[in-house]
Amino acid sequence: MPLLPKILWSLVGVLGALAYGLAIGGIIRKVMARIQGRIGPPVWQPYLDLGKNLSLRTATHHGVMSFIAPIFRAGGGIGLYLLIPVVVGVPALENFSFSGDLLMAMYFMFFGSLGMALGAAEAGHPHSPIGISRGLSQMTAYELPFALAVVALVAQTGSFSIHEIVAAQQGGWLHWNLIQNPLAAVAAFLAFLGMNMYAPFNIVGAPQEIPVGPPTEFNSQFLSLLMVGRATFAVAKMVLYMDLFLGGATSLPEAFVKTFLIYFWSVFVGAVFPRFRTEQAIRFFLGWPTVAGVAGVLLVMLNR
Amino acid sequence: MQFDSIEEILDFAIGKEMEAHDMYMDIAGKVKRPGLEKTFLELAQMELGHKARLEQVKAGDLSGFAAGEVQNLKISDHLVDVKPHPNMDYQEALLFAMKAEQRAHDLYVDLARATSDPGLRELFKGLAKEELKHKLFFETEYDDVILEGN
């Protein structure tokens, strides 16, 4: 596919990911509301929120870094998304996948949070750095089982290319890495709980302790940028997980179903648990998930 | 007494009213009690009003001539008649007027009973009712003023 149409298609894809990310946010809010016994907001509420935030006036000024932070955040999300093939076999939705893109993806997963950390720290509110420190500590913790799981997969497939990992899983659900390497999958999906920041691992932005944490000081357009980042980042993560463990997708509907299920997994847990303290969360990730991750790697090693 | 026509009867009635008027005028000149003279003059004036009404009837305007039932409180019925005298007070004046109207009423009732012409009888009854109305006026006044505490 020529470059120019590819770029255009990627942009369309980003917008689609944003739309999907927002929509899934709305659905989840609705589902959460139902388990709480409420009716809940309309499904399109996140769009309204985004539009509302765009219509507000910016009133704060915390220095240049704090302006850049949302851009980092959004950039992290979009960048991650752009690296991962969404639907294998449809060039328009394969984005900029290349050999070794998994490494880039791992990097981009850090990228947004780090940028956020820089900006939020500059915002001056004490709750922001507290939230950031919690977020980074927790991230470090869940990255370990996730990285181990990725290592296991890479070792299993022998490639750092997501495209190839997906290709290796084709031919029926029994070929999925979820089945092929269940231990790595367990490690990765437990890490996903922390990654998606639903309870019990949402201490980063716990409103009861540190009002929403890092984004405390962000408002209006910056906040909408953060929303964009969060939505696309979530979609990118789900697509990544889909590609890594659920055999990718060969059509858009399949992608929707799989990604939704992945997202729903964290909601399913998050809806019924309170949150851990930071050190408890760290202890959790360094416990069973890490063991599973190590075991997963070992399994691959032994299988060789 | 015999009457042959309505005009005759009305003339008779008008004559009666004039008699009453003259009598009240007469008494008004005699009473000593302050204000009572004025009362009697008013009574006399009232009789003139009655006379005017009757003249209207005579001219053919029967509207409002003692229509419907007139209440009879029967206050004067068992009270003792009084003779007009210079030291009359208000109670006596009312009594006197009441009795006078009652007499007129009784007269018309008798006449109505005595006559055989239904038209005339109706007229007499009407006149009696008219007098009853006058009596009611005084009886009400008596009931309100003299019998207020009773």
Partner: protein
């Protein structure tokens, strides 16, 4: 370590007054070392309305709409206590009819139930679980529905007044109470148990956190679920019996541990206890008779000089009213001694050092700090 060093390592952090984790409109000024609080000072006064001052210039009957505002979630204890104190000082207490006593007991128990439900939800709500607070607030709302039916208002009932209560029980109240409230609460409680007490996360967060040493109980005057969570069966309803509580069949709930979990557990048990007590009360409620004594003209009522202290068990602990009269138609002085005064200031400040920052909000909920009661 020198002071300067200490200061450099410590971050000052304000919790509140605008803070979703704070209980009500108050604030805690805290100093952090890492994730741990080293010192905390409670700041109150954001809700100070000067009730005690206002009551000094209001006639007795005019004071009574005001007292229920002292504690927002549980106004009836205040109403009852003011009425009880003034009845005792005026001698009206001998004329309060039987039925009024029963209704008062009912109202107090209902308000305890409502407050307990609210706090039980708050226990996990402060830890980020949205499900249970939604349910318990709904259940509390069912209680409020009955309050509205009984008293004519949802939140501020202004119902208990000198000599009795202001209105009779409505027709069919007991049945509606049973089907609309008690049955629904009992149906939901097991699921709530699952979501709270069986939840591994809650257990991790709550067990062994915020432990109040037992020896503080006597000297600080700790009361309510906090003291019962230490295993001490201290309950004003038993210790200083009032209204119809001596005639009701219930045991003081205690447990051990004295931590957040224990206090939540006490509250959970007391919800069940309240449900049971309300059933007992409604069963024994007299159907006939007046619900209020004959009152003198409240615009000119005077009470002979005297002073007294009356107490009752609120959901938070022992609530007390110290009332001084001087023979005029107004109170000379009324002092409201709420349990939060001890729990929310002295006890909280003693507990804060060493507490994780994330545990501050659950800790305050478990102490059931009610700022309007502290500053009045």
């Amino acid at each position: 370590m020198t002071t300067t060093e200490t200061l450099r390592r410590r971050v000052q952090l304000w919790f509140g007054p605008q803070h979703p984790g704070i209980t009500g409109n108050m604030s805690v000024q805290a100093w952090l070392e890492g994730d741990t609080l080293t010192q905390g000072i409670t700041h109150v006064g954001y809700l100070h309305r000067a009730f005690e001052k206002l009551m000094e210039r209001r006639k007795f009957i005019q004071s009574f709409p005001i007292v229920c505002r002292i504690c927002v979630p549980e106004p009836d204890t205040n109403e009852y206590l003011l009425a009880a104190a003034l009845e005792e000082l005026s001698g009206l207490d001998r004329e309060v009819p039987e039925k009024a006593l029963w209704i008062r007991t009912l109202v107090l128990e209902m308000s305890r139930l409502a407050a307990m439900l609210q706090v039980l939800g708050g226990h996990v709500g402060s830890m980020g679980l949205g499900v249970v607070p939604n349910w318990t607030y709904t259940l509390r709302d069912y209680v409020l529905d009955r309050f509205e039916e009984l008293t004519g208002a949802r939140v501020y009932h202004m119902y208990t007044v000198f000599g009795g209560v202001r209105r009779d029980l409505p027709e069919g109240f007991a049945e509606r109470m049973e089907t609309e409230v008690l049955a629904k609460i009992e149906a939901k409680l097991p699921v709530i148990d699952n979501a709270i007490f069986d939840s591994s996360v809650f257990r991790k967060r709550a067990i062994g956190v915020g432990v109040v040493p037992e020896e503080w109980a006597d000297e600080m005057g700790i009361s309510g679920p906090v003291v019962r969570a230490m295993g001490i069966p201290r309950d004003t309803r038993k210790d200083f019996p009032y209204l119809k509580y001596p005639e009701l069949d219930f045991e003081v709930v205690t447990t051990t541990g004295s931590d957040i979990y224990a206090r939540a557990w006490i509250r959970r048990q007391e919800i069940a206890q309240s449900v049971d007590l309300i059933r007992q009360i409604l069963r024994r409620m007299p159907t006939e008779g007046p619900y209020c004594a004959k009152l003198p003209n409240m615009l000119t009522w005077t009470i002979p000089p005297g002073q007294t202290y009356v107490r009752a068990e609120a959901s938070r602990g022992e609530m007390g009213y110290y009332v001084v009269t001087d023979g005029s138609d107004k109170m000379r002085r009324v002092h409201v001694r709420g349990p939060s005064y001890v729990h929310g200031v002295s006890l909280l400040e003693r507990l804060i050092p060493g507490t994780n920052i994330a545990d501050l909000s659950p800790l305050m909920v478990s102490l059931q700090t009610c700022p309007p009661e502290i500053e009045r």
